[in-house]
Amino acid sequence: MIPRYQRILFWSLFAGIFLMSAFLLRGCQQAHKRLAALNDATPIAAPTATSTEDVTLYLANDTDASITPTTESLALPQAPTLRARTLLDHLLSAYSLPTSKHPLQSGLAVDDVFLLGEPTNGPDKPSTSSIPVSSPQARQLAIVNLRGSFVDNHPSGIQVEALTLQSIIGTLHAALPEVTSIRFLVDGQPHDTLAGHADLLRTYPAVDTTVHPAPPTETPQL
């Protein structure tokens, strides 16, 4: 005959095992959900919650070396840095489409865009742009941090590299008028050139980069 206290002990232990099993099972399920959430690539801020707006993309064309402004409707975040990054990613991804007139390889191109307040230039500093900067108010410096993979796969040549930079500069200028100058980094570091030619060390003025090169004329325009 099993004593009563032993039976109580047995059932108590049995209940404890059952509760611990249930606790472990619940813990495993929660850990699984947490790991699955980390692998989810869904954007945290769903763009569907934002209304679309008209933005101007400055699209390059290798055939005639032109930059043409084109208006598109896009859903963009409101935060300026996120807005600039999303816009540039959209612009550069358009160049990887088969119909692109300025073909670039597909893939993410822009790591970050930083906006920094810029001190107002004194009267002794001339503009280095061929087009004067119009708005002296709320001056900001945009730093575009390009991905190394984008730079490594960019076609090499003066014209093709210059068109990419002019496309980025014109698009940023149209979307963020407070940006007056733009610098470029690659993987967070200064980089000499985009793909061996176009200068990435200088500060570019943020201006309208629309251009349609004219053929040579008998009467040169100085």
């Binding site: 055939t63 090169p213 325009q221």
Partner: protein, 239 residues
């Protein structure tokens, strides 16, 4: 009435000293010459663009520079180049600009080649032309914007060479870009980027084609001859 002898003597002495002082200044003027500076881009460990599987840009720029140098020499130009071989350690872009700025050439040509596009791209610096308000007050020339003062002459040079290439039935695009050492030159300067010749109806001519390169070289020599004639007499430095 007696003439004031001391003031007259002082004036004569001043005039004499002034004429003596003027002699070394005129002797320092650059001798009349037409020097063209050629910079075959890249070289050494920097191959430039890959134009085909085994053809780097540095090889094409070097071969074209040799061809252009021969044509220019036969047209009466003095030519300075930054390289006539492929050294293991090529000049940096800053060193190339230093050589050009010290030699005071009439025109500076940077030679590039690319696998994309069509014909010849003539590029001038996209720096702003000089501002009259600052022209007289700034004594030092900023290195990064040294080309700024020569932008009008560079644009005119690009136009003249563009016309010569068009007359040779070669497609030309005149564009602007920011490029080293183009932005650092103090001479009228352009970059010439040779792209394959891709006619609408016909085979593509690669940039390595000898006849294609010879056509371009002849047209550039013709354009530079016109440029020299438009300048008046052969001159040295254009500041």
């Amino acid at each position: 009435m007696t003439l004031p002898a001391k003031p007259i003597a002082a004036r004569l002495l001043l005039a004499f000293l002034t004429s003596l002082a003027a002699l070394p200044v005129s002797a320092q003027q650059p001798l009349p010459r037409t020097v063209i500076f050629l910079d075959p881009a890249h070289g050494g460990s920097d191959p430039g663009a890959r134009l085909s599987d085994n053809l780097p840009e540095k090889t094409v720029t070097l071969s074209f520079a040799a061809r252009l140098r021969a044509v220019l020499s036969s047209s009466g130009f003095s030519v300075i180049t930054t390289r006539d071989s492929d050294p293991s350690a090529a000049f940096t872009t800053d060193q190339r600009a230093e050589i050009a700025n010290h030699s005071h050439p009439t025109a500076c040509l940077i030679l590039h080649a690319t696998a994309g596009g069509n014909g010849i791209h003539i590029i001038t610096s996209d720096l702003a032309p000089p501002d009259d308000n600052y022209a007289d007050t700034r004594h030092a020339i900023p290195w990064d914007t040294a080309q700024s003062a020569s932008i009008p002459q560079s644009v005119a040079l690009a136009n003249t060479l563009g016309l010569a290439l068009l007359h040779a039935r070669l497609p030309v695009l005149l564009t602007r870009a920011s490029l080293r050492p183009l932005d650092n030159f103090t001479c009228p300067a352009i970059a010439i980027e040779i792209a394959p010749l891709t006619p609408d109806d016909g085979d593509t001519t690669p940039v390595s084609d000898a006849n294609y390169q010879q056509q371009i070289a002849q047209a550039i020599a013709t354009g530079l001859t016109t440029w020299r004639r438009n300048l008046g007499a052969p001159v040295g430095v254009t500041r």
